[in-house]
Symmetry: C2
């Protein structure tokens, strides 16, 4: 046999934002403009100084450490999860992962046999279908209600009609900013329990809830489903996605299986764990998170109002995370001139290119998130940039030709 | 369907050294003794101060970075590989991974379809069969020659008779310390080329060559096979296995596929990459490596001579890495008293327990490395501990009852 790449390797798609970065650079260079970047899936702030300094002490942890994570960090995270959700995971039920993304990957490797289906609640983070597929699973997208909330009846149908091993979602949601209600979470858990499937909840945005509210957690349920799996981490709340650390909490046999797999694959870096231990215990870091969320709420108010003032764009108000997710399909069919030719907007990629070229604002098209009628716009930038982007978008939209 | 763990998760074995750590603790506590630990798969020194300090500067890389690795590090590694082996990989052909272990995992995910075989040259590092299995592959162990060198005829037979996608080996070898010759490497490459399979060379111990020699590299071949894949990293040479960083170099389509997979799974931490960039450029770090290798060579001379002076033990002289791998089967069948009962030594696990209990020396049994007649003994400890361990082993062996 000729040995080339695996079928999975050939099928896996690069992240939707990567090709975009190249296009942003091309536009800036070719036309001498500054693009306002609203594609970010990360905060615009970094960690507090105490956390960065802790890396040096952490550097002394240069020998192999325990595969599941540092002895001090796991109990601290168990305590944090308890405080934030009420759920009682023991330290042994928590395992450190290489980012929350690496956590979802490890969960999928531990539960999926080839062909097993995972019901993914749309709109979903672009990585979900891919991370299921690279473990040999079959991603099944479940359509939401018209206002992009979980559709309990459709979830049940999807789980029943496929050889389902798990349900996967994020709340607060990337990309919509929708925060699932207690009733919605309980409804999803009831389906998982009825069909005896794992329920993987990505709560990486749990601390990003607006209007003084707390985002309901799956893990605050009165009668927590035993196959509920928490994916969480410090990347968003402390502004350290580049450090690559996350964690998973769940049933002991699952967590132990992940440990066995990670023991022969990728496990978390020790200096990073040491610094993150400082972050979770730092009042300074906690205050920085609160200030950031408050700032993103102000950005939200500005951007949502601005977008809704435009004919053809409908932008619901996100209750959490740091994205808005407007429906722009009211502008599909219109045209604009660029580089001497006429361009017609027919899908979300066209709309992304339109905003990039005519408003010099970078956003991510909704297609890869499961909604080709929508755009994902990040609020994790300065207020000034939000205001400038809105002005540019208003002008560009007003010049579209019907 | 009841959703429990995947078949792979249930089958994967924890690393052989983990259960051992618990047993060491039990012996020390129960009998009030100090066990000399010769199980280590890692240096007994850490990184130089300049490298640790670089973590703080690296901490400022808190935003998402490029999935394949930092812009400065990849060219530096391409240059290092060129200098050490002569091979010309472009920066684009190098991808950072979460440890060399994570690198092998990523390669396997990128090349294996379910059921594909990987020919693993025994004795092999314990993780090899597992890392193949967790990607759905079938590990095929290939027996060595009587002196534990690669058996070219057997490798060809194994590749021909199985649906082989790759050959996997390490040289300098963990666990044997054998360093493959130029002729052996070329012979293995010829088979890979003939059958058109990937050839994955784990050269993490490349800098650990004794007697003033250089370990021949697969990548120094006059006519380098295009499907030769290098797995390498800073963990052993700079004493930072706990930091979890490695890299893979290979054909561009493979490296790009690994990037797509890691983009949805686990990729390398940025502060760690920044510090490792300093390490590869540091004269101080390079000198520390040289001193360490020289010290392990002295340990080798002491331990090999000491073990060979014992009747029933045959210890070849390792040419690289930092292990010796004696055949202890000449002592199988003998007995010893412990805890009031008589114990008979019948395999490598029994021998490991004997050394632990009667000599208070911890070693790793050869079984999980593919040789149940042998023991892996790490030389990465102080000379004093080597000498004390030998005294203890001599006494314990002399008291064995035939």
């Amino acid at each position: 046999m000729a040995a080339e790449l695996s079928a999975i390797a050939n099928a896996v798609q690069a992240s939707a934002t990567l090709s975009l970065k190249a296009e942003i650079g091309r536009i800036e260079k070719t036309y001498g403009v500054k693009v306002i970047d609203m594609t970010a899936g990360q905060p615009d702030i970094g960690p507090t100084p105490d956390v960065i300094e802790a890396l040096v002490q952490g550097g002394k942890l240069y020998k192999y450490g325990p595969v599941p994570g540092e002895a001090g960090l796991r109990p601290l995270l168990a305590e944090t999860v308890k405080k934030e959700t009420g759920a009682s995971f023991t330290s042994d039920q928590i395992i450190m992962t290489v980012g929350a993304k690496g956590g979802i990957d490890s969960v999928m490797r531990a539960i999926l046999d080839p062909g097993d289906a995972v019901a993914i609640l749309a709109p979903y983070w672009v990585t979900y279908p891919e991370v299921v597929a690279i473990s040999g699973g079959k991603p099944v997208s479940v359509d939401p209600t018209p206002d992009l909330r979980p559709d309990i009846a459709r979830i049940e149908t999807a789980v029943r009609e496929n050889p389902t091993k798990a349900i996967l979602y994020s709340s607060p949601s990337n990309p919509t900013g929708v925060v699932y209600t207690r009733e919605e979470l309980d409804g999803i858990a009831a389906i998982a329990r009825k069909f005896d499937v794992w329920l993987v909840a990505d709560e990486i945005y749990r601390e990003f809830a607006f209007d003084g509210k707390t985002a309901p957690s799956l893990f605050s349920a009165d009668d927590l489903y035993e196959k509920a799996v928490l994916v969480d981490g410090p990347s968003k709340r402390f502004g350290i996605p580049g450090w690559r650390l996350g964690f998973v909490a769940g049933r002991l046999d699952l967590v132990k299986a992940i440990g066995r797999i990670q023991g022969h694959a990728a496990n978390a870096s020790r200096p990073i764990q040491a610094a993150v231990e400082v972050a979770y215990g730092s009042a300074q870091a906690r205050q920085a998170t609160a200030r950031m969320v408050s700032r993103y709420q102000q950005n939200r108010d500005l951007v949502v109002e601005g977008l809704n003032s435009l004919e053809g764009i409908k932008c619901p108000t996100p209750a959490g995370a740091f994205y808005c997710f407007p429906d722009v399909s009211g502008l599909y069919g219109r045209t604009y001139e660029f580089d001497g030719s006429t361009n017609k907007i027919e899908n979300s990629t066209d709309f992304r290119n339109f905003l990039l070229r005519k408003a010099n604002v970078a956003t991510v098209e909704g297609g890869p998130f499961g909604r080709d009628t929508h755009m994902r716009i990040s609020l994790a930038i300065s207020r000034e940039d939000c205001a400038a982007a809105l002005e540019n978008i208003k002008k560009a939209v007003s010049e579209l030709v019907s």
